[in-house]
Symmetry: C2
């Protein structure tokens, strides 16, 4: 019995291979600083738990397929405060996290053999969502030396062909932390509009922009109303990853109708988590200011300490909570295994995410790694010292 | 800009068309008895809400992709009590309801052009899950006169061809309420094994079997270990539809590995709902006995009253909480619209689910309807009287 070619093209998480080595290191008494995870450590606002505890109904019923009214209202209110006051609940569908928003969008847009442009390096699960639809990622190349910036019309336009259905961007970026300027965003919107392709803009890190454009959204470029599809989520915005509540947002009515077929097929998103997620949107601007300041401080520390390591290539990232860098090692994969098996900085070691998993072609990104700064500042300082010592010891082994 | 052929082949819920008519009827002051919904009215066990309220962690983190340990343990324990004591957590993946278990399974099994056998009439969302994978439903025909029973080797075997990847059954059945005998189950398992196809057994109504086989599962037929994939859910079992927690269960290791790729892609199911779902499995047998007795009583009432209507064709269904019947009307679709627009039994009317939505071919099931007995017994009695009066008045109009 065979499996579908679609699922066979997908891959298990590349990080799984390190788990047994990490377990063995822990069993030897090693402490591992996790710079490899995307799970924020910031406390989830208490509003979520209060709303969940306050849920009172004798029967936990199905929610409407498009979303619980109070959640849709909360998301709409958030976008109205951003200035998109024309949006109604009809422009918003509740999803099981940003993940389902992506899966749903790819299912609606891509057939077997269709292509979607994605700046590379990119979030590895994009490959799964695109692959399950039968489509194919066509990477837009970037370089560490340029801070992984990709918004260059001359670079993107030649990649568009008759199979191209969409462009998928992450802004602020994962794994790169790169943030588009308003001018770059406008150019991408115009490009999508001119070529009649969808622009799927994954903006789940919207609040986490430290230097340049603040709280930007592709929804601003109204000539591309029919092209733009926003992927959103409470996961990073409110440190509520386990709620699995996101949204797909678009002014393209035909798209929203197609996406509703998917929503009705899976019936609904969890009722109680939607109630909790709605309450999250009641937190005030002071919450975001504090979280952003904390991440900015960590970003500065991580970047400054990284750049003190001889041979590292990285441009200061402007957003999200990741750094992507070229490290002065032959292979970040071999380096990670060595860090777990053979290294100890007074009983400490560190985990990073080797770069290869963020590229479609084998052999790309072999000397790159993603670092996530979602651990406390003091731990981050220690982790970066351990990393610096590790690189030196690895190259002198 | 075009959409994928896969999503274009899917359809919006056929029930949507009645909503404006129902709203208009309500606005005129009519009371509508809902025999059209699959949302149980039985109270969700308090264990769910207590576990959810007791959840205490500063950060609502991602759960493991395969499921929260306590939920997997609870499901495993349940299956051990059913006698499947060899199952481990590795045979179980947590899913976003039975819906995602089905979507995941179809994504793993079906490519464009592949076929899956499904006894017809069937749950309409199967078309969406199969369609999103690019596959095609090949219906196994049944008749109301035979109680929609389909487990006939001579009828099924000729439908298997080189494109057939799987058979998908619902047992107890939705919309038919038909329950397989142990002998029929064994025959289907053997058939799948002999022909090297998967047997996807949707057993979300397992507890709701009133006459014949009790608590049966395709997991019993060990020669088909590699073929059998179970779709499960807490939705109906514990009247917890809004939790969106289900499971896919199989002894086929290769399948579980492929399914894990899907799970890792969407990261995880909601953390708190899994904790609540785990607690549901702690309810004792007295809960199931009481719920089953209540549904059995309603089934008997609904069936007995239905059969007093001249011209109705229905065999007493053995399970789930549905009846599927041929009604003595020219079209259950037109009848439903007429019930909402032109009928009143002292201010009452009734909604049913017209049969066409449960068939792939237009024109099939036009005089059939599904009735769900998920309303209180007294209301059910009144609803059935209203239905009988409605049929008489419709045919005398």
């Amino acid at each position: 019995m065979k499996f579908s070619s679609k699922i066979e093209r997908c891959e298990l998480s590349p990080m799984r291979k390190y788990a047994p080595y990490a377990d063995a290191a822990k069993a030897r008494g090693m402490h591992i600083y996790p710079l490899n995870i995307g799970q924020p450590d910031i406390a989830t606002p208490k509003e979520f738990f209060e709303a969940v505890r306050g849920f009172d109904a004798p029967v936990l019923e199905y929610a409407p397929s498009g979303g619980v009214a109070e959640y849709l209202d909360a998301v709409r209110g958030y976008y109205h405060r951003l200035g998109h006051t024309d949006l109604t609940d009809a422009n918003i569908l509740a999803t099981n996290g940003g993940s389902e928003a992506l899966m749903m969008t790819m299912a609606c847009l891509l057939d077997d053999g269709d292509e979607i442009l994605v700046p590379q390096p990119f979030y590895p699960n994009y490959t799964t969502f695109v692959g399950l639809s039968g489509g194919k990622v066509r990477p837009i190349p970037t370089r560490a030396e340029d801070g992984f910036h990709y918004a260059d019309r001359a670079k993107i336009e030649p990649l568009i062909n008759e199979h191209t259905r969409a462009m998928l961007i992450t802004n602020p970026g994962n794994p790169t932390g790169a943030v588009l300027t308003r001018g770059e965003m406008r150019m991408l919107a115009e490009l999508a509009h001119e070529h009649g392709i969808f622009l799927v803009s994954d903006e789940v890190y919207r609040e986490f922009s430290y230097d340049g454009e603040q709280m930007a959204s592709m929804l601003e470029f109204r000539e591309a109303d029919e092209n733009v599809i926003i992927i959103d989520s409470v996961s990073k915005r409110f440190s509520a990853c386990g709620a699995r509540i996101g949204a797909v947002i678009s002014r393209n009515e035909a798209f929203m109708s197609e996406a509703m077929k998917f929503c009705q097929g899976r019936l609904c998103c969890p009722t109680i988590d939607q109630v909790g997620a709605a309450a999250l949107y009641s937190v005030g601007p002071e919450y975001f200011a504090a979280v952003k300041e904390e991440y900015r401080r960590r970003r500065d520390t991580a970047y400054d300490m990284l750049m003190q390591i001889p041979g590292v290539i990285c441009r200061k990232p402007e957003g999200a909570f990741y750094l992507m860098a070229k490290l002065p090692v032959d292979s970040t994969d071999r380096f990670q295994l060595w860090l777990l098996e053979h290294f100890s900085a007074s009983g400490d070691t560190v985990m990073i995410t080797p770069g290869e998993g963020f590229y479609t072609e084998p052999g790309r990104g072999v000397d790159e790694a993603r670092l996530a700064y979602v651990i406390e500042h003091d731990d981050l300082v220690r982790a970066m010292r351990v990393l610096a010592q590790g690189i030196e010891a690895y190259n002198n082994r």
